[in-house]
Amino acid sequence: MDAPRLTVRQLGCERDHRMLFENLDFSARNGEIWQVTGANGAGKTTLLRILVGLHGFYQGRVEWSSPLPPSLLYLGHQPGVREELTARENLEYNRALSGQTGDPDAALAALDLYGFEDVPAGRLSAGQQRRIALARLWLDGKDVWILDEPFTAIDQQGVAALDQRLRQAAAQGVLVIYTSHHRVGDGVHRLHLGEDREVAP
């Protein structure tokens, strides 16, 4: 087995005088899918923000085997979509900023946004705005995906397509880490934050 892409050792984070989590240990490799679960307020979003380097106040170690930013595709709790811009403008800006490659129109079409490319995002529904952000997963060039609640506000069909996309990407060597309250699927590693912490395949 090749060396882990991400190694987390003794990770702990305190927020408002409360330990969110402590002594977190796990290592993740390319080609794996990790689902972070836990109750509301268990620190899932904070954990992801620590992993991507946005949140700097923690104890323990987070080590990436190679520098993260060039490989990282991060989708935060908020979709990062500006309402004044159209679906295509949003996606093209994010593509340029992150240095991804691929056809934005094809990515939008894959998420059933064909015909909505030139509509300002503010006039689309919450689910459609979420889909604009998710369209980045259909672009190329990133092999660490860190996704905060990617299934939120997505309909059943969309969830199925997204699930399939995550598995397809993992098969091509992408490391996927996401938070979700959805059922943990087969072959997905689970990382539970909270009382009954366990790391099980």
């Binding site: 908020q78 500006r82 309402e83 900023l97």
Partner: protein, 228 residues
């Protein structure tokens, strides 16, 4: 894995920021309207005597321009933060100074520059001699980018706070003082018929300092705010 070139990020960012401001015209009109209204109130409040107005004109125009820029900055990063776009900017594989600088340039082009262009008109309204109107415009032209950049540092540090507006003013106004002193000073010097080159050079030097170091400070401020 793929990292973008700085040029591509700069172009994409500049296009995005200009489009964003252009699509919410209130952001352009509001500072301009504020500037015009505040300056128009001076003749009503003081007295319409030309000699008195010409005396207070440099200060009145400059204070109004300074406040107009500051008011326009409160929301500079807020909508990006609320929408999550700021987190994407900070995790991008490119130094965040580049998109931040593009944002500042776009903001100045559509808010600071119009203030400079309309300043001579307001100076004329306050009975400034025509001969000093060009000095007034140049001073505002050199001063507003500094105000934008310095104010943006405060906006970056207060972006995560509710009602950060008053805190922004407290943070930023003291830093605005040198620009105000030299900006209004240049116009007064021109009014006295003295050479203004030296004072304009000082304004230019402050501008060079702000433009070269400011975006770095803004990017660091955003990172601090995101780290919470």
């Amino acid at each position: 894995m793929s990292a973008p070139t700085l040029g591509a990020v700069w172009r994409a960012s500049l296009r995005r920021e200009l489009t964003l401001i252009w699509r919410s015209p209130a952001d352009i009109v509001q500072p301009l309207f504020f500037f015009v209204v505040v300056v128009s109130l001076f003749p009503l409040a003081l007295s319409p005597k030309p000699a008195l107005l010409a005396l207070v004109a440099p200060g009145a125009v400059w204070v109004a321009a300074l406040l107009a820029v500051m008011l326009s900055l409160d929301g500079l990063f807020r909508r990006d933060q609320e929408s999550g776009a700021l987190d994407l900017l900070l995790t991008a594989p490119v130094v965040s100074v580049v998109p931040v600088a593009a944002k500042l340039l776009a903001h100045w082009l559509l808010t600071g520059l119009p203030l400079a262009l309309i300043a001579p008109l307001l100076g004329y309204m306050l009975q400034l001699p025509v001969a000093v109107l060009d000095t007034l415009m140049v001073s505002v032209l050199l001063g507003t980018p500094t105000l934008t950049v310095v104010g943006a540092i405060g906006a970056a540090l207060t972006v995560g706070l509710n009602r950060g507006g008053i805190l922004l003013a407290v943070l930023v106004l003291p830093l605005y003082v040198p620009v105000l002193v030299f900006g209004a000073g240049v116009v007064r010097t021109a009014l006295d018929g003295l050479p203004t080159g030296g004072l304009l050079a000082v304004l230019g030097a402050i501008l060079a300092l702000a433009v070269s170091l400011g975006p770095v400070a803004v990017a660091l401020g955003l990172r601090i705010s995101a780290g919470d």
